[in-house]
């Protein structure tokens, strides 16, 4: 080995990296974005030990003057609307929230008979209220983490397949000149894009279905809803994410740049779309922002089907969102599509 040659190649590569501004920016921007995302999600107050959803009288604030229990430390009190009471009772049943407290009239609470954390939260409530609250028992087994995580893992796998499978490949076609060759044929950008999207859709949905079937045999998991509806959710989600990948690749001519950009889009999606953990404790603005991500919409709908047995009508708003995103991304991609690298 010649250290001299090694040094020469090392130096040239460093220069190339430093002069490729776009790649350089992504290499620095991406870790920074990751740190910021973690700080926002997990930062602030120490993590609460219990989560209690509270229904308040109209116009009231989450304040200890309303009820002394609200002054308890290390309890995460989340205000919910009266319209969310039924859904929250189901969450108590699945151990997703420890207690539901209704303060609109005389204090009344729902607690799961089988939940250890619910038992302790109830003790704290009764201690602070001097035992004055009506008890409404709820029954139900806890949602296992695996049941909650499985849609997230499958969704994350789909997301990477959709974004990189289309985005990276289209950029490579452009760089190699294959797109330039196609531009001399009657093929339009929309036709080309649609073909890419449908090809990746077939692959992604097939692979995900196989994974789903294999996992059902290996790690029996909960699916309360229709498998066909779940498939529809997967198709709608995959379409939106593939279109997103195609939009990202509509103009780039460098694989490194495309790689950076897709990473920049996929990692926040993985963190903010609820793949690994729920964002319920995160700031409201972040939860709202997360709703705009296609992976969030797909996972919320998939979990609703699998954990709650949601119907087509229940997930229709999510499907509508995903369809709208698909059209928006494809429209932007087709209008700004570049056939040539230069």
């Amino acid at each position: 080995m010649s250290p001299r040659r090694l040094l020469a190649v090392w130096h040239a590569r460093n220069l190339e990296f430093l002069r490729d501004r776009s790649t350089l920016i992504f290499n620095f921007l991406f870790p920074l974005a990751l740190v910021v995302a973690f700080a926002v999600i997990f930062g602030g107050q120490p993590r609460a030990l219990f989560k209690v959803d509270v229904v308040l009288p109209a116009g009231a604030a989450l304040d200890a003057r309303l009820h002394p229990f609200l002054d308890t430390r290390y309890v995460d009190f989340v205000r919910i609307g009266p319209e969310d009471v039924d859904a929250t009772i189901r969450k108590v049943g699945r151990h997703e929230t420890d207690l539901l407290l209704d303060l609109r009239t005389a204090p009344r609470y729902w607690v799961n008979e089988d939940s250890p954390k619910g038992y302790l939260a109830e003790k704290l409530l009764l201690e602070s209220a001097g035992g004055r609250a009506t008890r409404e028992p709820v029954f139900g087994a806890a949602v296992r983490y695996v049941d909650w995580l499985l849609p997230g893992i499958l969704g994350m796998n789909m997301m990477f397949s959709c974004l990189f499978g289309v985005g990276y490949v289209v950029v490579r076609y452009r760089k190699s000149g294959f797109l330039r060759r196609l531009s001399a044929t009657p093929v339009t950008a929309f036709e080309f894009g649609a073909a890419q999207v449908l090809s990746r859709l077939l692959l992604t949905v097939s692979v995900t279905s196989l994974l789903y079937a294999a996992l059902a045999l290996l790690v029996p998991f909960r699916n309360e809803g229709s498998t066909l509806l779940l498939l529809l959710v997967a198709v709608a989600g995959a379409l939106a994410m593939i279109s997103f990948g195609f939009m990202m690749a509509a103009r780039f001519a460098s694989e490194e740049l495309a790689n950076g950009a897709i990473n920049l889009a996929s990692w926040p999606m993985m963190l903010l779309s609820g793949v690994w953990f729920s964002l319920e404790g995160a700031p409201a603005w972040l939860q709202q922002a997360a709703k705009a991500l296609p992976l969030t919409q797909m996972l919320v709908a998939a979990r609703a089907v699998m954990l709650d047995g949601a119907s087509f009508a229940d997930v229709l708003p999510h499907l509508g969102w995903l369809a709208a995103m698909t059209l928006l991304f494809l429209g932007i991609a087709a209008s700004g599509f570049r056939w040539r690298a230069d």
């Binding site: 000149g177 294959f178 330039r180 060759r181 001399a184 044929t185 009657p186």
Partner: protein
């Protein structure tokens, strides 16, 4: 009669360089038109503007009297100088892909036969030799049964045998009365294949016409070529102008007998003497003062 293709005052500017500088010409139905010139003369830029894949800075390109549009894209076949194909496809699958992009796509088997691809039809397109790849690219260009065919430096990098095989293919295509635009820096190729040539240099056309007419107009002599070592020391008092190249000397004359006598008088061996007519390469040298293959 309306030309198949017409180029009017075509200009292409890149930052700091005018690659094509006001080029105009037209190509008639069934004609094989050659755009010649050294590398960097502006041939590829011109042809890409004519193909509609590069936007001109100014000027216009007309196909059958109209600006390039969907009709042109359906009736034009294009072989780019450099192109990549979709990977992991065989020759047959690649042709099927392109054939299906056109409303009047030719049968894949017919394309395979026309371009002599039978033996490699089921081979991965990444495993083709240079000549085989050029034949595949030509077949792709013919996939829509085109009325007009663009061939940009189709034989660059091929060995002489592969080049001659390719010329045979082009001759077959010419017999089908297709209009062909060929760019090349091989003058021999242009001479053998083209009905009309336009010679480009530094973004401009410096001569245009049928090759034999251009040569007649500019030359009335032939060239006597001798190895340089056979001529050493004799050039000083030789009565005719002598061009000394790296490995040979060239004597241009209209009086062949007189030139031969002068050579014999000086005892110059004629064993390796070659007499050749003027060619397009000589014409380029005459017009620009520079060798073509630089």
């Amino acid at each position: 009669m309306t030309p198949v293709l017409e180029v009017r005052e075509l200009v292409k500017e890149y930052p700091g360089v005018r690659a094509v500088d006001g080029v105009s010409f037209s190509i008639a139905e069934g004609q094989c038109f050659g755009l010649l010139g050294p590398n960097g003369a502006g041939k590829t830029t011109t042809v890409e503007m004519m193909e509609g894949v590069t936007r001109p800075t100014s000027g216009s390109v007309l196909y059958r009297g109209e600006p390039l549009g969907p009709r042109f894209r359906e009736e034009a076949g294009i072989q780019f100088q450099k192109t990549s194909l979709q990977e992991f496809l065989t020759v047959r699958e690649t042709l099927a892909l392109f054939s299906h992009l056109y409303p009047r796509g030719r049968e894949v088997d017919a394309l395979i036969e026309t371009c002599a691809l039978g033996e490699i039809a089921d081979r991965d397109n990444r495993k083709l030799s240079g000549g085989q790849m050029q034949r595949l690219l030509l077949a792709i260009a013919l996939a829509n049964d085109p009325q007009v065919l663009f061939l940009d430096e189709p034989t660059t990098g091929l060995d002489p045998q592969a080049r001659h095989n390719f010329w045979d293919l082009i001759r077959t295509i010419k017999r089908e009365r297709r209009t062909v635009l060929l760019t090349t820096h091989y003058m021999e190729e242009a001479y053998f294949l083209c009905d009309v040539v336009a010679i480009m240099d530094r973004g401009r056309i410096i001569a245009e016409g049928p090759p034999s007419r251009l040569l007649r107009e500019h030359f009335d002599d032939v060239v006597l070529e001798l190895p340089r070592e056979d001529f050493s020391g004799e050039a000083v008092d030789f009565p005719l102008p002598v061009l000394v190249a790296s490995d040979r000397v060239e004597i241009s004359t209209g009086d062949v007998e007189g030139a031969l006598r002068a050579l014999l008088d000086r005892g110059i061996p004629l064993r390796h003497l070659r007499i050749r007519p003027r060619n397009l390469e000589d014409l380029f040298l005459e017009l620009t003062g520079r060798e073509l293959r630089t």
